[in-house]
């Protein structure tokens, strides 16, 4: 028989569904990246996983020619029209994907542990202030690490019940000290 000291944390992590924001998928070839930065007034980091902010707009580099842009809903139309007027000079693709995804926020002492239940990637190796597109169980997600134990995760809306069901189970297990 072994005795084990359990840490019955009442709230191992907090799972919140964040209010809607405008989300865009941006694709542009690297030769046109600099010009588009100027036109949009955004910084487009050229390293995968790196982020930038300009005012209330937030950018995450998902791939060598792909970025996710988050803006308040009020700024959506301005970004679309600025991009449209630059389109003839700077070919690119800006697609609004706001309704495709729901943002979950995981925070609290065991938020990182909860994510490791679904993510094969080494979550702790993601530096604070970076992000990544990765996998949670079988759902492709986009992850932002805002603090050591503070994450946002964009999940395609049809996968949200599945992802939440796993996180609910993880919550129960962590609460029971497993």
């Amino acid at each position: 028989m072994t005795t084990q000291r359990h840490n019955f944390d009442t709230q191992p992590f907090l799972l919140e569904e964040l209010p809607p924001v405008a989300r865009f998928s941006l694709r542009v070839r690297s030769a046109n990246r600099g010009a588009l930065e100027g036109a949009l007034g955004l910084e487009l980091p050229d390293l995968v996983g790196h982020r930038s902010t300009r005012g209330q707009a937030e950018v995450l580099c998902l791939g060598p020619d792909e970025w996710m842009i988050l803006t308040p809903e009020a700024d959506r139309d301005a970004l679309v029209s600025v991009a449209a007027s630059a389109y003839m000079q700077i070919p690119h693709s800006l697609v609004e994907v706001s309704d495709r995804e729901i943002t979950l926020r995981l925070s609290g002492p065991q938020a990182l542990t909860a994510l490791t239940a679904g993510c094969p990637r080494d979550i702790d190796a993601i530096p604070v202030g970076r992000g990544a597109r990765t996998l949670f169980d079988n759902a492709t997600v986009v992850l932002w690490r805002d603090g050591p134990q503070d994450f946002r995760m964009n999940v395609w809306r049809s996968f949200v019940p599945h992802v939440r069901a796993i996180l609910d189970k993880v919550m129960a297990e962590l609460k029971s000290g497993l």
């Binding site: 996983g49 791939g63 792909e66 094969p120 597109r133 990765t134 492709t140």
Partner: protein, 99 residues
């Protein structure tokens, strides 16, 4: 878990984020209609089926989304190297000597 070095993310990441995409360095014929049925069959279906170091395409589908090439030993499942799509096929002897 097998880790695969993505040349675009510049990071070794879990195999589950990747998808295999067939043998590498098979160029699509410039003018398919000029090919005989046998030549077209060879392009579509005939592969080397190597025992040992195999040049193959992978896609970081649950990550940066990019296709890249890898040299993987089909016996040991060990990745010898990965490199960006479009880069020349590496010389195998140098790789084997480095092993």
């Amino acid at each position: 878990m097998l880790l695969i070095q993505c040349p675009y993310c510049d990071e070794a990441l879990p195999e589950l984020e990747f998808a295999y995409a067939g043998e590498a360095h098979i160029a699509r014929p410039a003018d398919p209609s000029a090919l005989s049925d046998e030549e077209w069959r060879d392009f579509l279906f005939i592969r080397t089926n190597t025992r040992g170091p195999h040049f193959e395409r992978w896609r970081h589908i649950h990550g940066c989304g990019q296709f890249f090439n890898a040299v993987r030993d089909t016996v040991s499942d060990r990745f010898l190297m990965t490199y960006k799509a479009g880069e020349p096929r590496p010389v195998l002897n140098a790789l084997e000597a480095a092993e």
